[in-house]
């Protein structure tokens, strides 16, 4: 299981802005170790954000997304106090879900 995310979600005038930091190495698959062997790609594949079980935003990442990914997006239709849940899944089928109340 992955490490916790940091999620900030703030509602203002009907629009909720979300900022997420995910802890992940996002190994590109392009790097070599000290012995010259390619370090296999290891990265988050998908990120899904939901409010009340309804998807509000979804992302697919390739190996070129930076280490410890940052994601910032906005959506309408949620209220302060609603729970926003974010789930990522990586290419080794590791996953992590965290939840935050919209402020």
């Amino acid at each position: 299981m992955g490490d916790p995310m940091r999620i900030r979600a703030t509602e203002n005038g009907g629009v909720t802005e979300v900022k997420i930091l995910m802890k992940h190495d996002m190994e590109s698959g392009q790097r070599k170790d000290a012995t010259g062997k390619v370090i296999p790609a290891w990265h988050i594949n998908t990120v899904v954000a939901k409010v009340k079980d309804k998807e509000v935003f979804a992302a697919q990442f390739g190996p070129a997304v930076s280490k410890d990914p940052f994601l910032n997006f906005k959506f309408k239709g949620a209220a302060k106090g609603d729970k926003l849940s974010v789930t990522w899944v990586d290419n080794r089928a590791d996953t992590r879900t965290d939840e935050v109340a919209i402020a």
């Binding site: 490490d3 916790p4 995310m5 940091r6 900022k19 930091l21 802890k23 190495d25 590109s28 392009q30 790097r31 070599k32 930076s66 280490k67 410890d68 940052f70 910032n72």
Partner: protein
């Protein structure tokens, strides 16, 4: 539109300091500096150091070591268990160890005394790994708790003054195959290496620009770097030998920097290239 994907991502992508050699078109320096300023502004939002801070806060409260104790009674200089503001007043003299300590050496003392963790394990572990990794996360937590506070290392005890003098001497100490000292790059505010501006660490303003923004998350390595690690890599690039973890010279340099930066603001943890 170009369709040719030439070359591969450098083997050291995300790791090395100077990992890319790229030809950039003819352009004058001010434009380049403006571009860099925008880049820094854009990455300022969302510092991954927060991920380390969250982990560090958990570790602070989690029982560990042979004594199965937490760090909650650790005295960082403002009394047992006081984290808020503590980093802004380090390094300082501690009576129980009769030494001037920086944050990392003090955390090692707490881990040894309270938790029964062997300091040697911490010293011997590489940066970002093993027992050192835990210290680094706790550092992220502690320095975040001094954010926006005034830098105010005491500098009253004779041993603090002694460390300051040693730090100053170390700052100007030239040696090795390139004759470099810290001062070679850091005693003039108008200079830069490549496109990186170099703060004058001998002045209050410049020292605050350095001390006030470290420890930091480094995007070039994708890791959170403590002050010990920052100094370690300075010495590596200076072509000096390896400074021992929490050795006198590293604590002395931190003492010198913190004292010079007095009155400046803690922006820790920073976000650096």
């Amino acid at each position: 539109m170009k369709k040719i994907m030439s070359g591969g991502v450098s083997a050291t992508l995300g790791l090395g300091l100077c990992f890319l050699v790229t030809s950039v078109g003819a352009q004058n320096a001010p434009t380049a500096s403006d571009g860099i300023a925008k880049y820094r502004e854009m990455i300022a939002d969302g510092n991954p150091a927060e991920l380390y801070e969250a982990e560090g806060e958990q570790l602070w409260k989690k029982a560990a070591g042979s004594k199965n104790a937490t760090l909650e009674k650790c005295d960082l200089g403002l009394g047992a268990g006081v984290v808020k503001g503590a980093a802004a007043q380090l390094p300082r003299y501690f009576k129980d160890t009769n030494r001037v300590q920086d944050l990392e050496s003090r955390l090692m003392t707490c881990m040894e005394v309270l938790q029964g963790i062997d300091p040697k394990e911490i010293v011997d572990a590489p940066f970002g790994k093993g027992a050192k990794k835990a210290v680094e996360a706790v550092v992220a937590y502690v320095v975040t708790s001094s954010r926006d506070m005034k830098i105010n290392a005491p500098m009253k005890h004779p041993k603090e003054k002694e460390m300051y003098a040693l730090g100053k001497r170390a700052f100007y100490y030239r040696g090795g195959a390139m004759d470099f000292s810290c001062a070679s790059c850091h005693d003039d505010a108008s200079k830069r290496i490549r496109l990186q501006d170099l703060p004058d660490l001998t002045s209050a303003k410049g020292a605050a620009l350095g001390w006030g923004y470290w420890p930091a998350y480094r995007v070039s390595s994708g890791e959170f770097w403590t002050m010990q690690r920052r100094l370690n890599d300075c010495y590596r690039q200076q072509r000096f030998p390896y400074p021992n973890y929490v050795s006198d010279v590293t604590i002395a340099l931190s003492t010198y920097l913190a004292a010079n930066a007095k009155g400046g603001v803690m922006h820790t943890p920073g976000l650096k290239r």
